[in-house]
């Protein structure tokens, strides 16, 4: 990866593979993600690691990654030396976690150009490997991450116990260290108030539901992330299957709810979607919450054929590019909330009123 590609200012104008809106069921499934938690066997976990320990852990993992066959496709960012805005930018991009951005001391992230792979060093665990794909494609994500894990295990002794599996800083991740997540866009289930029912049934089978930006975050833009809670006592393919089996059922519910909305009042739905589109195309100042809320309606409208002059990849990109740090990176200056709301409206107008509104790759 060339240095230029890892320039965050450059990244601000692009978008990751997982926003492409491709892959199976991409109208409802935004992305499929798998992450593995790993720790070096010969160092304390992060909470007990001294600053020199952290530095050495970072160096060990950094060198192992960049001396492996993965090096060709990965670039490295020293997160501890990034400014707050850049760290926030990476969080919005889902390339690092909020915890990783906000913590202290030596830490970094290795990324590939397509933003499918991210290896966080010194997060809650020494290493968090993440693979993300557009649409419902857990098998590909697993093949990729499993390979990366194997490649690194040739160079690094990960903390492993035959009885308990991979040992992690928090006992909630021990065993496989694996979290399988599928991000779903479920506006019709929210409108028809069936989402609670879905939650309850997922909880019964030990699956967690979170918002767009993970733990503790609200379900912005009607995006819900469904993931396994159990990591011990089941094999990786079993855990993937559990999530993979339940997602089509939820997709089916969402489709049925959309059908109901259309049947019970196509006019109402069309009106709702068109108004949302109208506001986004014309607002002069707009908050992040309102933007997410309206984009959600527009996204569903496009998928139902009610809006035809814009495509899903562009909308997916707008969800991310209208986040606070993205707006500031794109503008090249720091902005307070009021100025951000003006800039966000400007950005939306510019991208939604173009004749060529479909090409998300160019800005």
């Amino acid at each position: 990866m060339s240095d230029k590609k890892l320039e965050l200012d450059y990244l601000a104008h692009t978008s990751g593979e997982w926003l492409r809106g491709a892959g199976p069921q991409a109208d409802i499934v935004m992305s499929s993600r798998i992450r593995l938690a790993r720790n070096l066997a010969d160092f304390p976990f992060i909470s007990r690691a001294s600053e020199p320990d952290r530095t050495e852990i970072e160096k060990t993992l950094h060198d192992a990654i960049l001396q492996s066959e993965l090096a060709g496709r990965l670039g490295y960012l020293d997160v501890s030396r990034l400014e707050g805005l850049d760290r926030q930018f990476l969080v919005e991009r889902q390339l690092i976690s909020r915890e990783h951005a906000d913590s202290q001391g030596a830490r970094g992230v290795a990324l590939d150009e397509e933003e499918r792979v991210s290896l966080m060093i010194n997060e809650e665990d020494h290493l968090r490997i993440q693979c993300m794909h557009s649409g419902l494609d857990l098998e590909r994500a697993w093949d990729e991450i499993n390979h990366i894990d194997d490649v690194l295990a040739e160079r690094i002794a990960f903390a492993f116990n035959p009885r308990l599996g991979f040992l992690t800083a928090c006992p909630t991740n021990v065993g496989t260290g694996m979290r399988v997540s599928v991000m779903l866009h479920l506006p019709a289930l929210v409108i028809t108030r069936q989402i609670e029912k879905v939650f309850r049934s997922l909880q019964k089978i030990n699956l967690a539901v979170r918002g767009l930006y993970g733990e503790g975050s609200q379900a912005m833009g009607d995006f819900y992330q469904i993931s396994n809670q159990i990591t011990l006592g089941r094999s990786e393919p079993d855990l993937i299957k559990q999530v993979g089996d339940v997602v089509p059922v939820i997709i089916d519910y969402e489709r049925k709810a959309r059908d109901v909305l259309i049947k019970e009042g196509q006019q109402n739905l069309h009106d709702r979607v068109s108004r949302a589109y109208g506001i986004l195309r014309n607002a002069q100042t707009i908050s992040s919450e309102e933007t997410m809320h309206l984009l959600s309606s527009v996204r569903m409208g496009v998928n139902l054929g009610l809006i035809q002059d814009i495509e899903i990849p562009m909308i997916n990109q707008l969800f991310i590019h209208t986040q606070p740090a993205h707006l500031q990176k794109l503008r090249g200056v720091e902005l307070d909330t009021a100025d951000r709301n003006i800039e966000r409206a400007r950005y939306l107008r510019r991208h939604l009123n173009r004749e060529d509104g479909n090409d998300a790759s160019k800005n």
Partner: protein, 168 residues
């Protein structure tokens, strides 16, 4: 649906994992913001876990037993069980061995199982990395020896570290 904390309509639906059990919250924008800024602190998840653990331990443990348990420390990284209960994060891989008895019910509660059946690292398919974990202890002891200006002990420890590293 109304916000759980005030009369406004609930527009934010949050699922929190408290002690492994998800809990749903339905809040209006303002209450959601207040709630999320509170819960944004990185300790929340840990505190929840610690809560679950405390519950686990409360069953069949007297206050005295609990106090004694809390003082147990890992010989490798030095973390006490009390610190783990508070932070919800373990200090080193060896904690899984030395706090095994205490962790077992917690693992059973979180995962419903206590034995790994998934992937094993190819290199040392059956091997434990316990030996390497001793490096954590040796490094800590070396640091302490240097701080105490016991350079003879420090150099002995350094050699021991090298030996294990070379063997691995």
């Amino acid at each position: 649906m109304k916000c759980q904390k005030c009369e406004r309509p609930a527009t934010f639906h949050i699922t929190e994992l408290t002690g492994g059990k998800p809990e749903e919250l339905h809040l209006c924008e303002e209450c959601a913001r207040e709630y999320l800024t509170q819960s944004d602190s990185p300790d929340t998840g840990a505190a929840n876990l610690a809560g679950a653990l405390a519950q686990q331990l409360a069953v069949g443990q007297t206050a005295q037993e609990l106090a004694r348990l809390d003082q147990q420390a890992c010989p490798v990284c030095g973390i006490t069980f009390f610190e783990f209960r508070n932070k919800g994060r373990l200090g080193c891989p060896h904690d899984y061995v030395c706090f095994q008895k205490e962790l077992e019910p917690l693992l059973a509660n979180i995962h419903g199982e206590t034995t790994h059946v998934g992937k094993r690292p190819k290199q040392n398919a059956a091997a434990d990395t316990d030996q390497l974990t001793q490096l954590v202890r040796l490094r800590r002891e070396m640091k302490e020896a240097i701080a105490a200006e016991d350079y003879e002990q420090a150099s002995k420890l350094r050699d021991e570290i090298k030996q294990i590293k070379d063997a691995g």
